[in-house]
């Protein structure tokens, strides 16, 4: 029973800090550009505003459009149960493994892409097409890098993660996975989370017709997705700071926050220093990360 309570606690903590992570990234980016920028708590204010706001719903939509925000949020929350964030929960993490994580996010994306087509808007359709295009490649690369990581781990379930030692292939695979994560969380160089220029946007184009609380749910889901992926990278590369039982002390939690902060800084640097790629150049980006994952596999196979 305590395990289930702890899992729920983990989900609540992730949901609570997810907007903050986004706020921190925006803040760091602004500071890197010598701007003062908005407060790191701005995403919370946005969410609150959206939750209380009236929705405008297109005349053409069906029930798919209505249920999608709930499904997207549910799939993100379920995914956050799979990754050991700061506690290893051997029982509840039997819910699923890393493959389930990949496919849960696919579930959310599938419905989001359908909801985009549901609005009969050309922009949303464009976003939907691009998102599915990119996700087909990210899925292949993600599975390959997960394979490389798990060959070291011995299982695809992350509950064993605090018992393993990091090797070179793991680090290379983690870099490849990080590139996938940039794409999955709609970051530069694949997508630009700040843009509102219809011709270039991908994720934003899909959710163009959403407003009010539906939009808030989708935003929250993508914040959670980002934190889950960051936690995944943190867990794989720095498993030492995972607690094996209860939240015994404060250090575990602060170590987790430190990991997230480090990744925020990294992502901000990448976003500030790179430009968005053309859609068809993303194939090269994924080819590169695919090759990295393959190198990791070969190294792991050779026993490096």
């Amino acid at each position: 029973m305590t395990e289930i309570t702890l899992s729920i606690l983990q989900v609540v903590i992730i949901m609570a800090i997810a907007p903050l992570v986004s706020g921190v990234i925006t803040k760091i980016k602004n500071n890197l550009r010598f701007r003062s920028g908005q407060s790191i708590f701005q995403p919370y204010r946005n969410l609150k505003k959206l939750f209380l706001k009236e929705e405008v719903i297109s005349k053409h939509v069906s029930w798919i459009f209505m249920v999608t925000p709930f499904i997207v949020l549910a799939s993100s929350v379920a995914a956050s149960l799979v990754v050991p964030v700061f506690i290893v929960l051997t029982k509840t993490q039997q819910l699923g493994d890393l493959l389930l994580l990949v496919f849960l996010f696919s579930l959310g994306r599938f419905f989001l892409a359908l909801a985009a087509l549901d609005t009969a808007s050309a922009f949303a359709g464009m976003g939907s097409s691009r998102e599915m295009f990119i996700s087909a490649f990210t899925e292949a690369v993600a599975i390959l890098s997960i394979f490389a990581i798990c060959l070291n781990l011995g299982t695809t379930n992350l509950a064993a993660v605090n018992l393993y030692t990091i090797r070179l292939p793991t680090i290379i695979a983690a870099i490849s996975l990080f590139m996938v994560i940039l794409a999955e969380t709609s970051r530069i160089p694949i997508d630009n989370p700040e843009t509102h220029l219809e011709l270039t946007m991908i994720h934003e184009a899909m959710v163009l017709e959403y407003s009010g609380r539906s939009l808030a749910l989708i935003e929250l889901a993508s914040y959670i997705k980002q934190v889950v992926f960051f936690s995944l990278i943190g867990t794989i590369l720095m498993p030492a700071f995972l607690s094996n039982g209860l939240l015994r002390n404060f250090t575990v939690f602060s170590a987790y926050l430190a990991k997230l902060f480090a990744l925020c800084v990294l992502v901000s640097f990448i976003e500030v220093h790179l430009a968005k790629m053309r859609l068809f150049r993303t194939v090269d980006f994924f080819s590169f990360s695919f090759v990295l994952a393959l190198v990791a596999i070969i190294l792991a196979a050779l026993g490096v």
Partner: protein, 611 residues
């Protein structure tokens, strides 16, 4: 010669046959119910009776194929199955397309059968009997070269029926032409009899004797997966799209089968049992969701009279049941949790992963790459079904036919609903089903005594190396999350405030169905990214009123069917060329014919004298 006709035909009652019999019956039941509504109004009374006769004969022949224990009788049943399905493909014999599709089908399937006959004759020549048991016992003493030859013949023969790339060209032509309930049987079940053939004759009777057999099947399977799904993405005919997905899914099934053969040869029996069971699981899953999707496509066709998804749209409001059923099928085939497609793909991934853990370096890389191919396939399949569902059912109708669609009749709804529920059952009850499939798989591989430990209880799938997934729990979490979110929203933010308005149109007004994203546009990025394979080209045509004013602009985009253009067309050209050359022997001159007779007699005399 005498014992050819001295047949001892019995029926097999082993796990494999029972598995295929239950798969066939599971899909033919809803298919039969569906045809009650589907055929009414569409066809004349005589035609409906004709359909029923063929339908029953088709199912009986498939049941016989998977149960008889004699290779000769197997061939007879196999051939009658092919011929009956040919008559079902040309059921709409008035349409030119049906006839040409039927011709391609009947030619391809007979090429396949010829290879199967050749393989059987080699086996018969060695064993002296067509009985499966005798064949199996004598197969051990077959020479290595003959074994390899038999394997290749069987692979080509059954591969043609299964639709392995590049032998798949008949499949996307023939399956869509049959009436939809038959398409669901052909795609769902008939092509699986070829998988039965491979398992029965290669694994059970011949026995896996070289590592490259498994490697070859794995490579072909990965190619079939990716080629099938890319072709499906380019296809805008709903039933053809589904037929291409059959090529893809046969590939996924063969991934499980091929990797199982590899493990068998590498002496990893537990993994071999696991992988074969994963392949069988995908086989039955594909039968269910592809059957479902074809029935839904049939409903769409019945309601609108078109299969071109560019002319559809907005059907979700007109046909709520059909669209919900199609959505379930689409989620299942895209391997999304918690439905059944996810389970079998997860198991296949696990088969690769466990294999990669316990084999040598080269094999590790090979298996990981196969897993990546599977992942790419499932990503592309999800994209394809977003396109298929989104363009067909969502947004605004794109034609008058789609605007006037009405929901189909009760019997059709019931059969779609039945298969829709099965996708949930086979997803959530995965542990119980997988346990049974492991028993079948052990039986096939002759490893009954093997202890395969993969599960602690009935809710969590656990592999030998502690990789777990629990779909009932995932489903529970998802449902609880949705409910909790809805309640929390209501409590914290009050009732939903919403108003209806137009879709945002950039300040233009009256955006209509012409402005929606079309299927062609949706698949454009894929067409560009895979242009090295698809070789797309476009035709533009401008009709001008004057130099400055273009009145209409016609733009069409095509992809090159490379297998037909670069393999089959030259082959066919060669055969026709040869036939034209041979025709010179028969110019119709009686003098020449008499001289032929004369030469033949002389030759015979010489022959008789000499020997």
């Amino acid at each position: 010669m005498a014992n050819i006709f001295n047949l001892h035909v019995g029926f097999l009652r082993d796990g494999l046959s029972l598995f295929f019999v239950s798969t066939i019956l599971l899909i033919s039941l809803p298919s039969a119910t569906y045809s009650l509504g589907y055929l009414k109004g569409h066809y004349s009374k005589g035609k409906i009776i004709y359909n029923w006769v063929l339908f029953v004969l088709f199912i009986i022949s498939m049941l016989l194929v998977v149960t008889v224990n004699n290779a000769l009788v197997f061939l007879i049943c196999w051939e009658s199955m092919s011929l009956i399905s040919y008559f079902l493909v040309i059921f709409d014999e008035k349409s030119e397309k049906s006839i040409s599709a039927g011709t391609v089908y009947v030619v391809m399937t007979h090429i396949g059968t010829a290879f199967i006959i050749a393989a059987f004759l080699i086996l018969y020549n060695h064993a002296g009997s067509f009985d499966f048991n005798v064949l199996r016992i004598n197969a051990d003493t077959l020479s290595a070269g003959a074994r390899n030859l038999v394997f290749l013949f069987l692979l080509i023969g059954f591969g043609t029926k299964a639709g392995i790339v590049p032998l798949h060209i008949w499949l996307p032509l023939a399956h869509p032409q049959a009436p939809s309930h038959i398409s669901s049987l052909m795609s769902g079940v008939m092509i699986k009899t070829a998988i039965y053939g491979i398992i029965r004759f290669v694994i059970c009777i011949l026995g896996v004797s070289s590592l490259w057999w498994g490697n070859l099947i794995l490579v072909l399977a990965a190619i079939s997966c990716i080629v099938g799904v890319i072709c499906a993405l380019m296809e805008h005919d709903l039933k053809k799209l589904l037929a291409y997905h059959s090529v893809e899914n046969i590939g996924i099934i063969l991934l499980g089968l091929g990797v199982s053969m590899i493990f068998l040869k590498l002496n990893l029996p537990v993994l071999a049992v696991f992988s074969l069971a994963a392949g069988l699981y995908h086989l039955i899953n594909h039968a269910i969701f592809k059957g479902l999707l074809f029935l839904c496509a049939g409903s769409v066709y019945k309601a609108t009279g078109t299969r071109d998804i560019e002319k559809l749209g907005g059907l979700i409001k007109k046909m709520p049941y059909t669209s919900a059923a199609f959505l379930v099928g689409a989620v299942a085939i895209s391997a999304l949790p918690p439905l059944n497609g996810f389970v079998s793909e997860w198991l296949t991934f696990q088969a690769f992963f466990q294999g990669a853990l316990s084999t040598t370096a080269g094999m590790k890389v090979f298996l990981s790459l196969s897993a990546a191919a599977l992942a790419l396939t499932s990503g592309l399949a999800a994209a394809c079904f977003v396109k298929a569902f989104g363009v067909t059912f969502l947004a605004m109708p794109r034609s008058a036919k789609a605007r006037e669609a009405v929901e189909v009749s009760f019997s059709m709804k019931v059969s779609m609903c039945f298969l829709g529920i099965l996708t949930f059952v086979f997803g959530l009850g995965c542990v119980i089903i997988f346990k049974n499939l492991v028993v079948v798989s052990k039986n096939v591989l002759g490893l009954e005594t093997l202890n395969v430990n993969f599960s602690l209880n009935n809710f969590i799938l656990i592999t030998a190396n502690n990789s777990t997934v629990s779909l009932p729990a995932v489903a529970l979490v998802l449902v609880l999350c949705v409910i909790a979110t809805a309640i929390l929203l209501f409590v914290l933010a009050g009732a939903r405030k919403a108003r209806q308005y137009d879709t945002w149109d950039c300040g233009y007004y009256n955006l209509g169905a012409r402005n929606e994203y079309s299927a062609t546009a949706f698949s454009k990025p894929f067409r560009v990214a895979f242009s090295f394979f698809l070789l797309p080209y476009r035709k533009t045509e401008k009709i001008r009123e004057s130099f400055y004013h273009v009145k209409t602009f016609k733009y069409e985009t095509f992809t090159t069917p490379i297998f037909r253009k670069y393999i089959y067309a030259p082959l066919l050209g060669g055969i026709f060329g040869l036939a034209r050359f041979m025709r010179r022997l028969q110019p119709g001159s009686i003098h020449l014919y008499i001289s032929y007779i004369f030469i033949t007699i002389i030759a015979l005399i010489v022959f008789m004298k000499k020997f």
